[in-house]
Symmetry: C2
Amino acid sequence: MLAEAIAQAGLEFNLPCGGQGRCGRCKVVVEAGEIKRRSTIRLTSTELEQGYALACQTLAQSDLVIFIPPQEEIIVRKLPSERHTAETITLPMPCDWESNPSIRQFHLEIPLPSLADNTTDFERLKRELNRQHEMGQLNASLPVIRRLARTLRDANWDVTAVLEMHNWFFEKGPPRLLDLLPGNERDHLYAVAIDIGTTSNVVYLVDLLSGKVVDTAAEYNQQISCGEDIISRIVYAKRPGGLEHLQRLVIQTLNGLIETLAERQGIAPTEIYKATVAGNTTMIHLFLGMWPEPIRLEPYIPTVNHPLPVQAAELGLHINPEATVDCLPGVGSYVGADITAGVLSSLMYQTEKLTLFIDVGTNGEIVLGNFDWLISCACSAGPAFEGAGVQSGMRATAGAIDEVWIHSQTHEPTYRVIGNERPRGICGSGMISLLAEMFLSGVIDKAGKINVNLDTPRTRIGEHGPEYVIAWKEETHDQRQDIVITQADIANLLRAKAAIYAGFSVLTRSVGLELAEVEQVLIGGAFGKYIDIEKAIQIGLLPDMPWDRFQYLGNTSALGAYIALLCPDMRRELNHIARRMTYLELSADNTFYDEFTKALFLPHTDLSAFPSVARLLK
Amino acid sequence: MLAEAIAQAGLEFNLPCGGQGRCGRCKVVVEAGEIKRRSTIRLTSTELEQGYALACQTLAQSDLVIFIPPQEEIIVRKLPSERHTAETITLPMPCDWESNPSIRQFHLEIPLPSLADNTTDFERLKRELNRQHEMGQLNASLPVIRRLARTLRDANWDVTAVLEMHNWFFEKGPPRLLDLLPGNERDHLYAVAIDIGTTSNVVYLVDLLSGKVVDTAAEYNQQISCGEDIISRIVYAKRPGGLEHLQRLVIQTLNGLIETLAERQGIAPTEIYKATVAGNTTMIHLFLGMWPEPIRLEPYIPTVNHPLPVQAAELGLHINPEATVDCLPGVGSYVGADITAGVLSSLMYQTEKLTLFIDVGTNGEIVLGNFDWLISCACSAGPAFEGAGVQSGMRATAGAIDEVWIHSQTHEPTYRVIGNERPRGICGSGMISLLAEMFLSGVIDKAGKINVNLDTPRTRIGEHGPEYVIAWKEETHDQRQDIVITQADIANLLRAKAAIYAGFSVLTRSVGLELAEVEQVLIGGAFGKYIDIEKAIQIGLLPDMPWDRFQYLGNTSALGAYIALLCPDMRRELNHIARRMTYLELSADNTFYDEFTKALFLPHTDLSAFPSVARLLK
């Protein structure tokens, strides 16, 4: 292997996975000579054309000239707030968003009143809208009406009216006057698409005239201080004033993001005339200040799946106080608007292909179906992959180990840390990677049991039983204790992955299909983007199928909110999607426990369902 | 005359008007004997049958047996708050208010949710409404939605939904959930009809199930502390915070009345589910917090004539926060919802008779027309008849002289005081009475000039020129100064009455008619009820026509608000009335000044238009 030749040449060269051809980090460029590649994992076709090869998977068949690119030891991964850039966000489908927009502006030069023409201000405004744009009745709230007389006179009757033409609830009602601005039409008409994640909140600033996402911002949900996962938030809401506090925290988070965006773009928040909001059902309940307790208790009933539009002022959201805040529809307590938005933006509701859509966050939500039918379920995976319930677990933020390779002989780990600093803990994608590496390198067996008899100080009996040391305390950020994964952590992670995989199994079986028949697997959610599919298959979190059937879609929830914001047709489509999505309550399905138990093993009791892993184990 | 015979008999007997047969206060009962009545003024047909006669207008034609009833010296007149009793308020027209009510309650026994039937709370409620009452979409505000989950569970799914089925603005929209109450339907469904007068505010508590006015309450508008008339209120609104203060004051007044009614009826204010509000355009603007300044300035433009329905919570009105507050439509800055409500409740919009409707309050508003057409104008009469701009003027409250008789020989006055106490001043009806008496007894001439050469200490040159003493200071409440009417007061009153009469003239002429063609004169407004028609004709305030053409209607504004509250059809009718009422701007009419000048005399320059007064003067 080239790797050995490089070592013989005395060059420092790392094989993070121990030369198993798994990590793809021993890339070299063969500039001259003949080689034979045994594996090209993680190499793109462009790289292959350019002569890239994996040093641990390539045999020399002649003398060679090799270029060794600098190996990254620590890779800088950006914080969530900078992960999505506005330029990369585009509508995934053709959509006629211009012909029937929900928000419009109309420039009006209104004839001055006189004794002979003494129509009221409001009727005069309506008359002019009607003359110029054939509009009949007009709705307006009291605060807007209160400002009317002064604005018209201050602007010398030369004004631009900003109107909400319709929303999904008032399809046929009269337009609503949101604002009256002095002078001519504006070049931009802003709105925001919001994704309220249990962990991260994302706001896209959209220009409804160009249809483009102008800017984005993301930040951790301040509710985290009241609990990491939705169940702990619901429990927190039971305290006196707890619900109000949680509502205030998410509004504060969003207002901060909106302020950031407004400042960066040099606009006033009151120029933002609409908002769509995606999020799981608990997040939507807390955002609207609805009592979440029945979501947690059997039979798990939300107050509402299709929240009625409310006005920004009612929520304290700092955009235009008249702006409609449209919380997107969910399916049930555990399949929320984040998932329907994902189904919309993934286009799975249009395709003929049998599609599995998954969004692994604090919970794992799964949708199976196509243009014809859609069925969904939620797996209470628990927050293990989010970093909670794992001793050294943390969220995917600076200092988190997000990928691990373990040398198959020495069992020494190599890891990658987010944010160019010393490790503080390990995040979800790091745990998937770690589990897979431990399994394949024999640190744990198929039941997840740590082999403490290995000839390495990395496995040991710690305070809480068997554990594996990922980083010695000297390497860590605060140099105070080793970063380890314990037997209990592993059990938690196995339960989480088993719940998700059991979800896949039960969901497909429930419609008389097999997992293998799934033609594509679409992965949404912020977390999904960083799952290593290969390793997720190796631990049995994802079904074992050709990698080209998997596709990362990024933040499908925020994207869905953006689509629904821009296109009224798509907003209506979203209601149809939510209504036609069947919800399978796993806790009511008596095959679930069986499937869950089978999936508690690595990768699974039934190894025949994981042929690629079976090959690897041989 | 009998009066002389009584005097000869040595009995104490007052002739308040000096024996001119004007006051009707010298009634006696002729128990035996022959008489000849020269006038039967103020005697009802019943009284005539019972033998009543006016001592000053009746000749003895034989020996007589006469019974002299006790003469009232001071008549107790109730305060406004007690003037209208709920029992006397009835719908003036047949109206099918039961078939399509705006507010309805529905008792629902909702099936409990389960894993198999896990529809959301809101959908479950809608489903049950739909099953039992064939209702489709349902609207609800965020605060109601927020309470939904808890109310349903606390009530064990046995609830009564209170729904607003429609309002004039959302005729065809979905019903709106106002409240969800535990248990069965209520026996009463309350709402309030409100009349916001510049001076007095009135609230009728209505039971929408029986259709009846259950109770009423009235109180002075607390805004009085910021100005007596609408112009001074508009000027006050220009101060920093002035508009907000005025809005708060009227809301405080109404909340006090609502609290009184609720306490008296043993209900919670939140059980009141709707409000209609009548009032002049300025009062409506101040109630809603709309900038009133353009009402005062040419070309006199209100913000809105048909205010959109708002919710009680937006205004701080202490009824159910979800209740729609429906401000009734007006015609223009000076013909407001009080007048359209008056036209509705007077039924003049239905009659074939040529009708003149007048509402004399701080301003005088006049409507002329019938079922076919309606034209209106407003006379800026000024607040003289309301007691402002008159030295001893006051509102019609305790201590106000409200009727005066002047002896034709001695020029000594007799007066009646409201509230069984010593006089403090003189109110509007008192001033009309006083002017007429002064004119007919020669204290003033037809130009209103006081004759200071009369042989009486009552006329004199005071500090501010000629004046007439109505009550010596010893007779008054505080015994500090004489109650007088000055030459300047008279000039003010003449301008006020001239403005109103000129309004009648110009309005009738503008449609090519003569005042004499008017078939009925309907007098609305709280003040109108206390105008003595005879005396109002004598001073030329009302046109001279047979008294049976005049009809007092009481508080037509509050009555209209009650009708519009109860009957959706009538509420729609009110919009039609407001839209088809033409508004004649008197200040833009160039015949107005002529007519005004002619009417500055007593009763009028053209005495032929006042034949009854001409006869009296002879």
